[in-house]
Assembly symmetry: C2
Homo-oligomer: 377 residues x 2
């Protein structure tokens, strides 16, 4: 029998939560960070190394995968897991966010979105039903409803319109998901409503009534101040069912993650660690190191001898500096790996501190250490 | 006591030779292929994976390393092996070839070459003595004399002048090497003389009298027809001491290697497998596959299930095609690894066939298989 999807809350510390999301493809320890594997690859990393960092789940981007290599092709080849050689759970977004940010000539209607591919200009339709169908073809374990995410700042009227449309799309997504999905798969509804607390309340309550397997908070980390983001999270979380996982989409910095876990978030994804790795930046407990800086040229020390990952432990800063300066591919390979390992070490630290009832102490010490070093860099 | 440098000839099959080069850092099985690690990295590969392909020795480029990160800096950081995390032997070229092909505003004299860096325009001097000094600072196990490699075609007079200059530089290199090198290190003299058999004879005999640890054949694979290259090898090898290793610089395709081993060559280096990997090409026993071709888009087969290397065995051609089309870094990572693994499998096949006295059969079957498939591609 297929393992049903489940969320087990194991401990709380204030509003912070320790838990696990159980899926047929494995258990996700929460709070969890999901590295982004946009085009069926976590850029510059072997999946074996991603796994070894303590990553339990990857994120795939429906928009990119539907355009290239194509969802039907991935299905014929045995699904996304087999295609990219990742046997753990995969969460996919709906594609909606990137349709709006990357594609050309978009036309939005009640039915869905018609758009042109940014790759070859080909015409595509995306509806709530088609998004779920694509995610099922990919074999996604945790699927997202199609929503409309408005750019901030937006008028209240525009925010409300998009939130209401997203709710109607949630209903249609739920119907499609129930008809099409494999046993054990999950669908998350996405709370919208911009920075208007009452719209967020309405969105969250309406979604809760749909009894989704989990809930995402969308429409944040799109340019608003951190404080506004955190206030919106605080206003939204109480309306979400305590027994379901909560996923803050596209967030964020280590600081964002600590402050969002504090407010009851369980799952995160962000391109920061992987993108930064390709741009010569190394995440550490003392903040980010810009490996391009001449200060590293003669430094025989590793990035962090205590981080249990080869790129942090086994290579000198001088060597990494040389690779970045020489624009060698190995620079991006090593720094991406380091950064994913650091993010997973951060999540492991968060989980351990919640289990031991000392999350506040862990959060404060980590924020202080990062801030002090960030100033002295 | 430091293991002295040695060459042990273990078997011959016609003119083809099976042997081993023994160095303080390990034994090199010959015929050997040396992947190129230009700037202290085999591009897009972890050294652990390079080692796992059966690679016994890497090549480093003195010209690149002296300019960035700098030989004195590498020495302060503990040497090239520690810097790049490769504990096996490293062979370095003299830097001369790339001074002539990459640098700006070169001035050649009896003393050496003055040139400007292609990176930042800084002025540098390269003499036979400085080249050896740099190679010693890097900690190179097998060092090359500085020589002058003229571009082909060249006049006989120009070829002779450069060959004679290279012989005088060999003497100076030898003196410097004896004064500066670590125990167990080796210095190879480089035979020049273009495609003039009598000049090659004179060069080889004069170098043999210097009792170098090994001998390189330089100035080939610079644009001449393969037949001319092979004839020049055949004309040169008989003048080289049978008890010393013979290294054909910068060669080549699998076909070049098979035909050169047949003529008595023991060591090779070439950027082809690594460069091709970054350009979407996969070497196989059936020739090169261009993974960008649409023919691979739906092909679930691996590149080669019998090649004992993860990139050849564990990923579908469809996935590799997708990665190449999407310009993902993982494409270059996997195809480079596949290609180095293929080259090492080719060398292992060559060595086994010499040991069993069936080199001709192995060579003919391999050439036929590659040629047939090359036509049908």
């Amino acid at each position: 029998m297929t393992q049903p999807f489940a969320f087990n809350l194991k401990a709380t510390d204030g509003t912070a939560r320790l838990g696990e999301v159980v899926t047929p493809r494995g258990t996700i320890r929460t709070p969890a960070f999901m590295p982004v594997g946009t085009a069926a690859t976590v850029k510059a990393m072997f999946t074996e190394h991603v796994k070894a960092t303590g990553t339990d789940i990857l994120l795939g981007n429906t928009y990119h995968l539907m355009l290239r290599p194509g969802a039907e092709r991935v299905a014929r080849l045995g699904g996304l897991h087999k295609f990219m050689r990742w046997d753990g759970p995969i969460l996919t977004d709906s594609g909606g966010f990137q349709v709006m940010s990357l594609s050309k000539l978009r036309t939005l209607s009640e039915k869905g979105v018609v758009f042109q591919s940014h790759i070859d200009g080909s015409r595509h339709e995306m509806s709530p039903e088609r998004s779920i169908e694509i995610q099922c073809l990919l074999g996604s374990d945790i699927q997202m409803q199609l929503d409309e995410c408005v750019a901030l700042p937006a008028s209240r009227a525009e925010t409300e319109r998009a939130m209401e449309l997203s709710l109607r799309w949630a209903e249609r997504s739920r119907t499609a998901f129930k008809a099409m999905s494999q046993p054990g798969a999950a669908m998350f509804g996405i709370v919208q409503g911009g920075t208007e607390p009452d719209l967020r309340h309405r969105s969250a309550r309406a979604l809760a009534a749909m009894d989704c397997e989990g809930y995402s908070i969308g429409g944040l980390a799109v340019g608003e101040p951190q404080e506004v983001m955190l206030d919106t999270i605080s206003a939204t979380v109480p309306d979400l069912p305590a027994g379901k996982p909560r996923y803050l989409m596209g967030v964020g910095t280590p600081q964002d993650i600590l402050l969002s876990v504090e407010r009851g978030i369980d799952m995160f994804d962000c391109v920061m660690p992987t993108r930064a790795g390709r741009h010569g930046l190394a995440y550490t407990w003392d903040g980010k190191l810009n490996m391009k800086n001449a200060a590293h040229a003669d430094d025989p020390r590793p990035i962090d001898p205590l981080l249990d990952a080869p790129p942090a432990r086994d290579y000198s800063r001088a060597y990494l500096h040389h690779l970045v300066r020489s624009e060698e591919l190995l620079a991006g390979m090593l720094l991406t790996w380091n950064n994913v390992a650091f993010y997973q070490a951060l999540m492991a630290g968060i989980r351990a501190s919640i289990a031991q009832g000392r999350f506040q102490q862990f959060k404060n010490e980590t924020l202080a250490r990062m801030a002090v070093k960030a100033k002295s860099e």
